[in-house]
Point group: C2
Chain length 143, copies 2
């Protein structure tokens, strides 16, 4: 059950002093339950059945709120629109060049890379991102 995750996320938000509105609940729920990495527009469309009057701005506003609370990460790949990902545990993404599918991929953080970068460039390194690209099994099968 992912309702435990949802509750944990909501507790997290409440502690940060964020009000849990029905829209926020629904957006969060959708993000956690859909194993995909939806765009703002996809979330908007997915919820317009439940919330016929909800505005796109609400989706964007709340994604920003969740981001600021550290619950959600914004993924900016080459395509036009950002995708949003619930941060649960540390993981990277592998992306299919053919169909665009994004799959989680767990790997121990690249700490050595960070420390080398720090010494070479003189930056104070805070974090990094990495994505891997290839062709997913489904697309391989379809030749």
């Amino acid at each position: 059950m992912s309702s435990a995750k949802i509750n944990a996320a909501i507790d997290n938000l409440k502690e940060a002093g964020v009000r849990i509105t029905p829209q926020r609940h629904a957006i969060l729920e959708h993000l956690i339950q859909s194993m995909s990495h939806p765009t703002a527009d996809e979330i908007y469309k997915a919820l317009e059945g439940k919330f016929p009057n909800m505005s796109v701005a609400t989706v964007y506003n709340n994604l920003r709120v969740f981001k600021e609370a550290g619950l959600v990460k914004e993924l900016t790949y080459g395509d036009s629109s950002s995708r949003f990902d619930c941060v649960t545990t540390d993981h990277y993404h592998i992306i299919c060049d053919s169909c665009g599918k994004i799959v989680d991929f767990h790997y121990p953080g690249l700490d050595e890379v960070e420390s080398l970068a720090e010494s070479v460039t003189g930056f104070d390194v805070g974090r990094h991102r990495m994505e891997i690209y290839g062709v997913c099994p489904d697309c391989k099968r379809k030749h």
Copy 2:
């Protein structure tokens, strides 16, 4: 002198059957000589002295041509507009969270990560991207 690089790039394009127009030459030259990683608009503005009539579309078109020829890479970070980078040797980027500066950072490719991802996910892995984020020396000094 980077004129050698420019000539090499031009030969590359010619072999691929791409016509070298004055605009293309100038865009390429600017990309190679400016050590920065300019946006399409920055390139456009930088060249409007030389080419007062050049259209933004020309910049975008030709960046796409260069990309397809494998000479240029598009970098999509969180900010609104893409940046473009001449592919010379393999390198990663380290980005300042405070001022946005992008610095090249050479590191041996992360081949083990790619092969692990391949075995774990079943993808055929082609490539990967990585960026490191932190605070640059200049911004550190400014506190």
